[in-house]
Amino acid sequence: MFEAFIDGLLLVLQWKAFSLMLVGMALGFCVGLLPGIGGAATLALMIPFIFKMSPAEAFAFLLGMHSVAATTGDITSVLFGVPGEAISAATVVDGYPMAKKGEAGRALGAALMSSLLGALIGAFALALAIPIVRPLVLTFGSPELFMLGIIGISCITSLSGSSARGQIKGFAMGLLGLLVATIGQERQSGSLRFDMGLMYLWDGLDFVPVLVGIFAIPEIIDLAVRGTSIAGDRPPENLSAGVVEGVKDTFRHFWLVFRCSVVGVFVGILPGAGGGVAQWMAYAHAVQSAKDGTDRAGFGKGDVRGVLGPGAANNSKEGGELIPTVAFGVPGSGAMAILLSGFLIMGIMPGPDMLTKHLALTFSMVWTLAIANVITVILCLAILDQLAKLTYVRGGLIIPFVLLLVFVGSYTANGQIADLIVTLIFGVLSYFMVIFGWPRPPFVLGFVLGKVIETYLFISMTRYGFGWLTHPIVVGLIVLMAIVIAYPYVQQHRQRPREPVHA
């Protein structure tokens, strides 16, 4: 075992594999910065280039690229409020307000260091978990996966307010997201739903135009309204000190980063959930970890913990997603499905062989995840000073370039002008959501999970009728959901000052 572990490292450190990993990382860096061009799409574009590579070289190239895209996606989320990757959206919620407060360096330092720790924990989990994860994955059927999706939405909606009235808006937004996800062809029967007679809507709404509309357009409008730089009229922060502070924050909240990394690994292991869910569950966990209402009030307004949680989960889920892909040939996400085709091109069949015959190759993937992230974070930390200075450039000079990136990103979804209109429509909707205090994160999570949840609900109903509601794990998850929803009330009740007792 140890010998294979070292052999895996040596495979990655061979000059050709290492050089290809660096090339992949450079590509991943650019892809991560560009909104809309996802890591999965780039993986698909790069698959034809691996035919002449050895398996170790091919996986160093592909995984180097994929793991780095998740890390650098946080950079535009923090600097401009535009998620570089779909899986970096949660970082916007607190990262961008930090940039507006003149703490871009700190936010970036925290995002990158937590990403690094998350990636290392994910890689470690991949190394450790393969032998023990099989029973877990096999225990989770459609009913359990359906309930897990519902818990994900409950986590985020229950945090929209600490009273029943405050939570109404959160739940309504989660439901609206689920409803928007039903647009298009229903997968089981093929019937069209809410297509308005438009062929564009037959496949449903693509995630990218909706996401960039929801997050980027309101921020651009706000920047135009302020008429200042992103950081406003605040004196420039000491950027190096800010970055160091962000790195320190990561270790100051180490256990939060660790727990969010574990959330990322767990969500990554489960097929179909993906990074879009991991980041929000981690964010919800970060908010729920707040000691009281006052401690929680800073979230959404630039709390560094809101950057650390999603940053860690985004990267740890890479290791988690690889576990079922490598061990059972069951891809945990679209990107892993593409990677699986890489396995087949290389003539390698995922499964027990990966734990015996190809164990060194499996460990080379662990090493690639770890080494690629270490190099990226060191490089990023070196250039963060220059990146963070962008938040002090006058808004009027930034807006046209950000608008261009946003719309090119959304256009890549289907290559149609309708993608731009969808971005605009959801941008307007999102603007009014912020103005009238309706939280956007539940909407996004509902939209991301909608199709997955519906599929699992349909399979559960077809196979078990309503009997699936009595499955022991489902019952356990329902109890967990009740706890998640009730937790803010309990926390509020505990904080309420006790009435003095009169004799």
Partner: protein, 157 residues
Amino acid sequence: MRKGAVIFCGFLIAVSGFAIFTATGWSFKTKLFPLSVAIPLLILSTVQLILMLLGKEATDEGAMDVDFTTDVPPEIVRRRVVGVFCWIVGFIALVYLLGFPWTTPLFIFLYLRFQSEVSWAGALASAAVTWGCFHLLFQSLVHIQFEPGVIQAWLGL
């Protein structure tokens, strides 16, 4: 503000009502999920609207999302919001008419020159550099296929 919030709530009621009305005509399989989502959405939006009208809205809102700036006078906010929306709509219209590759330098130039009041030379140079980067990155490296605009199609370019 309050009037706008009520209208937004009404919009949610209308959306969920429309979804329920449309879905009732579908087969069980097709309508199961939309109805299980739209009915609670209708109920929650209605409850929220009633609370708003009675003035009993929650006071602990605003958690977990960004806040917009509040230190700009409302009339300037309105003017700037309308202005930026016009630019966005103009950008989409330009893409429709000219396609992305032509719109990119034109939009950057127009915005920088007439909105940000950058010098003619500065705006032109920025537009040229952006066009070069756009071509190199999106067309040469990533190979994104950009559809020609209506005008090019009409002229047969």
